[in-house]
C-alpha cells in the first residue's frame, strides 16, 4: 500500500516538474491559431479556408490575389493571360516563369498544367467541386515551340475568366505519372459532360488507383509541390508544422517580393477550437498570431496592461458581411412592403456595437462601401424605426388587432397572420444576438418571431428547400467579381438562391452585369442593381465585418488585409532581438 502511495506521489511530481519550466519553443517558428483542423490537404478538394491557406504554402497557382493591394497578380505565370475571343470561345494564353522548378530541379512546364487539368476532370478522383467550378475550361493547347507556353480554350465569354482560369494549384506530373501515360488521353475526352467509364481507359484507371493510394488528404508530402514549404508534421486536431524548403526555386530570383516571398523558417498552426482557450494561449505566449479575434476579447486585450505590452493589434475592413434573407415565396413575406417594414426592425448601429464592439460597418447593399466607384452612396443607410415599420405594414394591407398581432385578408377570403421564424446556424453568438434583438423589436409592435437555431448541415438543406421565413448568414464578397446570379437569379432557385427571389427585371440586370466589360457602364448597372435590391429587399445586409488580428509585438510585416485569411503568413518577420 505504502509503495503505491509513493509511486503515486512520484507520478504527480513528474507531472508538476515541467509546469515549473514551460517548454521553450523554437524561436524561428511563427505559431498561428487555427480554429479547427483543415481535415484534408488534398489539392483537388480544398474543403475550407484553412486548407486553402495551407495548400497555398505547398503548391502554387498560375495567378493569385495580392490581398493587401487587392489585385490579381501572376504567381507561377509570368504575367496575366492574353485574352482573345474566337466565335463563342475565349482563348487565354499563359506563359510560365522561366525560373519555376519542381523540387527535383525539373522546370515547371505547360505539360504540368495539362496534367493538372486532366486530374481535375478525371472520374474516380475527389475532384467534383473543382470540376464544376472550372467546367468552362474545355481544352488546353500547348505551344510546340515553347514548352512553357499554353492556351486555355474556354466556353463562352466573361470578364472573370481572366483570373478564374488560373486559380488552382499546379501539380507535378513527374511524381504521379513518371511514365507520362496520361499524355495519351486528350483533355477534351475528360471535360465532356457525360461520365467517362474507367474501364474504357486502363491507363486512367491505373492512375486513379495510384492517386488514391498516395493518400494526399493526410500526406501531401507524397506529392511535393512548387511552394516554399513542406508539411513536416500533422497531429490531427492539434497542430500542423510547415518547414521552409532550403532551396526553393524563387530564392534565385533577383528581387523577392510577395507572392514569391517566404520568410519564416517554420510555421506552426495550432488548432484551438475554443475562443477562450485560444485567448489564454495567446496571453501565455503559446501562440504568436490570433486571427479573427472575437470583438469583446479584442477590446479587452487591447486595453489590458499585459496585452498592450506584449501584443500588437490590427484591424482591416473586410468583404465579409452578415445578412438577413427573406423567403420571398412564402405567404407573409411575398410582398416587398412587408419585407421593407422588417428591414426597419434591425437596430444595426446597436448590433454593430453589441456584437462587434463597433468594429464593423454598415452598407446599403451587397456592394462594399470600399468600392467607391460602384457603391451607391445616394441610398440612405437603414434606420431602426419601428413606427415606420408599422406604417409600411399597414400600407401592405396588414391591420393590427388591438394590442395583439397583425392580420390581413388573403385573396381566398381567409385571414393571414403575421408570424415569423428566424433560422440561423446554432452556436454563433453574433447570429444569436441579432435574432434576439429582432425578436424583441418585433414583439414591441406585435409581431411574434420564433428563433430557430439549426445545425449547419441541416441548415443548408432547410435553406435550399425554402423551409424558413427569415435567415441569417454570412457571405463573403470580394473586389473582383460581381456575378449575383447564384444568390439572386431565378434560375438558381433550389440551388443557391435561398430567398427564391427573381423578377424579370432583376434577372435581366444580373445577367447584364455579368456580361458587361466596360467599367463605367458596369458601375452604372451595379448602382441600379443596389436601388432595385433596396426596393425589393429580398436580402438586407446588416453589417460588414472588420477583421481583427492580435499578434506578438516582435512580429512585423503581417500584411493585414480584409480578404481571408486576413494576413499573409509567409511574409511575417520577427524583429531582431534587442
Amino acid at each position: 500500500m505504502r509503495r503505491l502511495i509513493w509511486g503515486l506521489s512520484l507520478y504527480i511530481l513528474i507531472g508538476f516538474l515541467p509546469a515549473c519550466n514551460p517548454q521553450a519553443s523554437p524561436s524561428d517558428a511563427v505559431r498561428v491559431r487555427w480554429v479547427r483542423d483543415p481535415e484534408s490537404l488534398n489539392p483537388l478538394i480544398i474543403p475550407n479556408d484553412l486548407a486553402n491557406q495551407a495548400i497555398g504554402l505547398l503548391y502554387q497557382n498560375l495567378l493569385t490575389v495580392d490581398n493587401q493591394k487587392q489585385v490579381w497578380v501572376p504567381w507561377l505565370a509570368e504575367k496575366l493571360p492574353i485574352v482573345q475571343h474566337q466565335d463563342s470561345l475565349t482563348l487565354l494564353t499563359y506563359r510560365l516563369r522561366n525560373a519555376a522548378k519542381w523540387d527535383n530541379g525539373q522546370p515547371i512546364v505547360a505539360q504540368d498544367v495539362a496534367f493538372t487539368l486532366k486530374l481535375m476532370n478525371s472520374p474516380g478522383l475527389p475532384n467534383e467541386a473543382a470540376r464544376t467550378r472550372f467546367s468552362f475550361i474545355q481544352d488546353v493547347r500547348l505551344d510546340s515551340a515553347d514548352a512553357r507556353q499554353f492556351t486555355l480554350v474556354c466556353r463562352g465569354r466573361a470578364p472573370e475568366y481572366v483570373h478564374d482560369s488560373g486559380d488552382y494549384p499546379i501539380l507535378p506530373e513527374y511524381v504521379l505519372d513518371p511514365k507520362r501515360q496520361l499524355r495519351t488521353i486528350p483533355l477534351t475526352v475528360l471535360t465532356q459532360p457525360a461520365l467517362v467509364s474507367l474501364s474504357q481507359y486502363p491507363v486512367l484507371a491505373d492512375f486513379v488507383r495510384r492517386y488514391n493510394a498516395a493518400n494526399l488528404d493526410k500526406s501531401p508530402m507524397n506529392l511535393p509541390g512548387s511552394g516554399p514549404y513542406q508539411l513536416t508534421a500533422w497531429r490531427s486536431g492539434q497542430a500542423l508544422t510547415f518547414r521552409r524548403k532550403t532551396n526553393w526555386w524563387a530564392d534565385q530570383l533577383p528581387v523577392q517580393q510577395p507572392p514569391l516571398l517566404a520568410v519564416p523558417k517554420q510555421i506552426d498552426f495550432q488548432i484551438i477550437p475554443d475562443n477562450a482557450t485560444a485567448l489564454l494561449a495567446l496571453r501565455r505566449g503559446d501562440i504568436d498570431v490570433y486571427p479573427m479575434v472575437p470583438a469583446n476579447e479584442f477590446d479587452r486585450l487591447r486595453t489590458s496592461e499585459n496585452g498592450k505590452q506584449a501584443l500588437r493589434f490590427y484591424t482591416a475592413d473586410s468583404y465579409e458581411m452578415v445578412l438577413a434573407g427573406f423567403n420571398t415565396s412564402r405567404a407573409p413575406l411575398n410582398d416587398r412592403l412587408t419585407r421593407q417594414a422588417l428591414n426597419h426592425l434591425f437596430n444595426i448601429p446597436a448590433l454593430i456595437k453589441a456584437t462587434q464592439n463597433g468594429m464593423a460597418y454598415p452598407s446599403v447593399g451587397l456592394i462594399n462601401p470600399q468600392e467607391k466607384a460602384l457603391y451607391n452612396d445616394s441610398l440612405p443607410l437603414l434606420t431602426f424605426a419601428p413606427q415606420q415599420a408599422e406604417v409600411l405594414l399597414s400600407q401592405a394591407g396588414w391591420a393590427r388587432q388591438g394590442a395583439g398581432g397583425w392580420t390581413r385578408p388573403t385573396a381566398g377570403g381567409q385571414t393571414q397572420a403575421l408570424e415569423l421564424s428566424i433560422t440561423y446556424r446554432a452556436g454563433d453568438a453574433t447570429f444569436e444576438t441579432i435574432a434576439l434583438q429582432l425578436r424583441n423589436a418585433a414583439a414591441q409592435i406585435g409581431i411574434p418571431i420564433q428563433l430557430r437555431p439549426t445545425e449547419s448541415t441541416l441548415l443548408l438543406s432547410k435553406l435550399r428547400a425554402g423551409d424558413f421565413d427569415v435567415y441569417l448568414r454570412t457571405l463573403s464578397g470580394n473586389p473582383f467579381a460581381y456575378d449575383f446570379s447564384p444568390i439572386l437569379h431565378s434560375a438558381s432557385i433550389d440551388i443557391s438562391n435561398f430567398t427564391r427571389f427573381g423578377t424579370p427585371t432583376s434577372d435581366k440586370l444580373i445577367k447584364a452585369i455579368v456580361r458587361e466589360e466596360n467599367p463605367a457602364r458596369k458601375a452604372q448597372l451595379l448602382r441600379k442593381f443596389q436601388v432595385i435590391m433596396r426596393t425589393e429587399s429580398p436580402i438586407v445586409v446588416l453589417f460588414v465585418y472588420r477583421y481583427r488580428l492580435a499578434a506578438d509585438r516582435r512580429l512585423t510585416n503581417l500584411r493585414v488585409s480584409g480578404l481571408r485569411p486576413g494576413y499573409d503568413v509567409t511574409t511575417i518577420e520577427p524583429l531582431p532581438e534587442s
Partner: protein
C-alpha cells in the same frame, strides 16, 4: 468455464451485428445530398452560378466515388404508377458491400477527410485510451487511499467535500478547473488546451511522459474528480460493513491495528463490487469523454464521434458505434467471467 465463455462470446456476436446493422441502415436512410453538395455552395458573392443539371451530375459523381449509389439493402420498395412493388436487389447493395468490407477490417472512408475510418478511429483511440485509462486507474487508486484514510479516522469533512463535487456535472468541474488553474488572471499553472508542441521523435521517454502529464493534468484531474466521489463513498460503505463483520472483530482481537485489519482483511472483500463495477468502464474508456475533450480541445474519441454526428459523417459514426458496441459486449463477458471466478456458486443460465 471455457465452454461457458465461448457460449457467451458466440451470443454477443449477433447482438453486435444487429446493433451496428441498425445504425448503418438508419444512417443510410438519412439524406446526404446536402452534405455531399456542400462544397458546391460557394459562400462568396460573385462566383459563377451552376445549373440544376450540373448540380445533379456532380452529386452523382460524388455518390459513385463514395459507394453511395445503388440500393441500400437486399430488397427495396419501388414506387411506380402501378403501385408499390417489392424488389430483390441481390448482393449488389450498399449494406452487403459495407458488411463484407467491414469483416475484412475496412470500414470505408470518412466523408469529411477522405481518410479510412479505421485510421481516423485509431488516431483518436491512440489519444483517448491513455487519458481515460489513467483517469480510471488513478481514480481507483485514489479512492482506495481515501476510503482507507476515512475508515482509519480521516477527517469526516472529506466526505462532505466529495459530496459537494459530486453534485456538479462534469462540465462545470472542468470549466472551473480551466478558468482557475490555466488563467493568466488567476493561477496560470497549466496549459489550457491541446497536447503540446514538441515532436515525439527523439525525445527521451521521461520528457515525453512528463510533458504528457503536464498537458493532460487538467483533463485528467476533472475526470478523476468526477469519478472519485461515488467510488470513495461506495468503498467506504463497503469497508465499514466489512469491518463490522465477525472476522474483522477476530482480527482486531488478535491485536491488529485498524489500518492493518482494513488493508489485510477487509479491503479484499470490499473491493469485489468495485472490480465488477470497473468492467462497465470498458466501453466508457473507448468512447472517451465528450465534454472534457470539447472544453480542453483534445482530439479524442468523444469529440470525434460528436463532430461526426453533428456533421453527418456517417462512416465514422458507424465505425465508432461498432467499436464501442464491441467493447461493451466484451465488458459484459469480462464481468460474467469475474462473477464466475469470484463466486463459483453463481451459475448463469449458460
Amino acid at each position: 468455464m471455457g465452454r461457458f465463455l465461448l457460449y457467451r462470446l458466440l451470443r454477443t456476436i449477433p447482438a453486435t451485428w444487429a446493433i451496428v446493422s441498425i445504425v448503418f441502415l438508419l444512417s443510410r436512410t438519412l439524406p446526404t445530398d446536402d452534405l455531399l453538395g456542400q462544397a458546391l455552395i460557394d459562400k462568396s458573392v460573385g462566383s459563377r452560378s451552376i445549373t440544376a443539371a450540373e448540380r445533379e451530375a456532380t452529386l452523382l459523381r460524388v455518390q459513385q466515388r463514395l459507394g453511395l449509389a445503388g440500393p441500400v439493402f437486399y430488397f427495396s420498395r419501388i414506387h411506380s404508377t402501378a403501385g408499390t412493388v417489392w424488389q430483390w436487389n441481390g448482393t449488389d447493395n450498399q449494406y452487403h458491400r459495407w458488411l463484407s468490407n467491414a469483416v475484412k477490417g475496412d470500414l470505408g472512408q470518412s466523408y469529411r477527410s477522405g481518410q479510412p475510418v479505421t485510421a481516423v478511429l485509431g488516431e483518436a483511440l491512440w489519444f483517448t485510451l491513455p487519458l481515460t485509462t489513467s483517469a480510471a486507474l488513478l481514480a481507483t487508486l485514489l479512492s482506495v487511499i481515501l476510503a482507507l484514510w476515512l475508515v482509519c479516522g480521516g477527517p469526516a469533512f472529506l466526505l462532505s467535500i466529495l459530496y459537494g463535487i459530486d453534485a456538479l456535472p462534469l462540465f462545470v468541474v472542468a470549466l472551473g478547473l480551466m478558468l482557475l488553474l490555466a488563467n493568466p488572471d488567476i493561477i496560470p499553472l497549466f496549459p489550457a488546451y491541446g497536447m503540446g508542441q514538441q515532436t515525439t521523435e527523439n525525445t527521451p521517454w521521461n520528457v515525453q511522459i512528463s510533458s504528457y502529464l503536464y498537458y493532460s493534468a487538467l483533463p485528467l484531474a476533472s475526470l478523476i474528480l468526477v469519478k472519485l466521489p461515488s467510488l470513495v463513498v461506495q468503498l467506504h460503505d463497503a469497508l465499514r460493513h466489512e469491518l463490522g463483520a465477525n472476522y474483522a472483530n477476530t482480527a482486531r482481537a488478535k491485536g491488529l491495528s485498524a489500518y492493518q485489519v482494513a488493508t489485510r482483511h477487509a479491503l479484499r472483500n470490499a473491493m469485489l463490487p468495485i472490480i465488477v463495477l470497473l468492467t462497465d468502464l470498458l466501453p466508457a474508456l473507448v468512447a472517451g469523454a465528450v465534454v472534457v475533450e470539447v472544453i480542453f480541445a483534445l482530439p479524442g474519441m468523444g469529440r470525434l464521434l460528436a463532430d461526426a454526428a453533428a456533421a453527418h459523417d456517417f462512416p465514422v459514426l458507424v465505425g465508432g458505434v461498432l467499436l464501442v458496441a464491441m467493447m461493451r459486449l466484451l465488458g459484459l463477458v469480462v464481468a460474467d467471467m469475474l462473477y464466475f471466478l469470484t463466486d463459483p456458486r453463481i451459475r448463469l443460465q449458460a
